[in-house]
């Protein structure tokens, strides 16, 4: 109940972290520690012989597992190929599947996403697709055998939070898989809202990496996720149009 299970793997932290955008690897490592995350995403890019230090080794020392992504892929073919290369490089079957359909919004390309998801599931991958906040698409991805769904709150890196909380709640009802709110998180209250809506976890990247103080924001996100999760379980009061006094009128003094 208190632990998140994805594809048979138990995760104690319900916060996933993106490694992109940090001003330095030192700050990234500190933010990872502050966040308590166990799973961080990495992209696959050409080896730069001039680059200092190996990211894989830094993340190894941080004690976290890698979740490679297919960021930058625009077709199912590229995404599948990237996933296969990531499996070779990092010896993991897990893949955060992104297939981008538009450069300005970085919104997913639904038909290509479904095609890639099907192919990767058939190839034995644990597929975590980055998807729109569309409950029908989420169900289609679940039907294909994905291990979780990762709907966006708003466009990647926009920090606009959850633009359609109603749809996120519908996705929660539509699939029995873990729902990981991905993209658009701007601050800790957005993460809390995601959890209150019934998400099982939150993925944050830019919101932490590009904050003025990434380490403090990582800690804030961690508490936001925990607070939202607790609130969801606690059962919030219904919203009412008018006030309901919390102090009784019984025994009220007559003072004038």
């Amino acid at each position: 109940m208190n632990e998140l299970v994805i594809a048979g793997r138990t995760l104690r932290s319900r916060l996933l972290l993106g490694t992109g955008g940090f001003p330095s690897q030192e700050l990234m490592s500190e933010a990872i520690a502050a966040s308590g995350t166990e799973l961080v995403t990495v992209a696959l890019r050409r080896v730069d012989p001039a680059a200092r230090g190996s990211l894989v080794e830094v993340l190894d020392r941080a004690g976290v597992s890698l979740l490679p992504n297919t960021a930058g892929c625009h077709t199912a073919r590229d995404a599948v190929m990237t996933a296969q290369l990531a499996r070779e490089a990092f010896e993991t079957d897990w893949i955060k599947l992104e297939v981008i359909g538009d450069e300005d919004t970085l919104l997913p390309d639904a038909p290509e996403l479904l095609r890639a998801a099907e192919e990767l599931v058939d190839d034995g991958f644990v597929v975590l697709p980055y998807t729109t906040d569309d409950p029908v698409l989420a169900r289609r991805l679940a039907d294909l055998g994905c291990a979780a769904v990762m709907p966006l709150g708003s466009p990647i890196g926009s920090g606009m939070g959850i633009r359609n909380p109603y749809n996120i709640a519908l996705i929660r009802e539509a699939v029995e898989l873990p729902v990981v709110l991905d993209a658009g998180i701007g601050t800790a209250s957005d993460a809390a809202l995601a959890m209150e809506l019934g998400c099982d976890a939150v993925m944050a990247a830019s919101a932490i990496a590009r904050a003025q103080d990434p380490v403090a924001m990582a800690l804030a996100m961690r508490h936001g996720v925990e607070a939202g999760r607790l609130a969801r379980g606690a059962g919030r009061i219904p919203r009412r149009r008018y006030a309901t006094a919390s102090s009784s009128d019984v025994g009220l003094a007559e003072l004038t």
């Binding site: 993106g18 490694t19 992109g20 955008g21 940090f22 690897q25 990234m28 995403t41 990495v42 992209a43 696959l44 890019r45 050409r46 080896v47 012989p49 190996s54 990211l55 894989v56 080794e57 993340l59 890698l66 490679p68 992504n69 960021a71 190929m81 296969q84 290369l85 990531a86 070779e88 490089a89 990092f90 990647i156 890196g157 993209a183 993925m203 990247a205 830019s206």
Partner: protein
């Protein structure tokens, strides 16, 4: 002409993937590295034996910070 990560490489047809990796300062036991040649994955176990064609396009990839 062989392209290594998009740039013309000092490599000739018949050389191996391992030779291409050496041009980037990488050895056979490099961690977190994957190779594609002409759009196909070359598994680590074949780096030493896989020979490049005259016009091979070699991509050598690794982890990079990303969301």
């Amino acid at each position: 002409m062989i392209l290594l990560n998009g740039e013309r490489a000092d490599l000739a047809g018949g050389e191996t993937v391992l030779a291409a990796l050496a041009r980037l300062g990488l050895e056979a036991d490099a961690r977190g590295v994957a190779v594609a040649v002409d759009g196909e994955v070359v598994p680590r176990g074949r780096w030493e034996s896989f020979t490049l064609g005259e016009d091979a396009r070699v991509e050598v990839l690794t982890a990079s910070q990303g969301g």
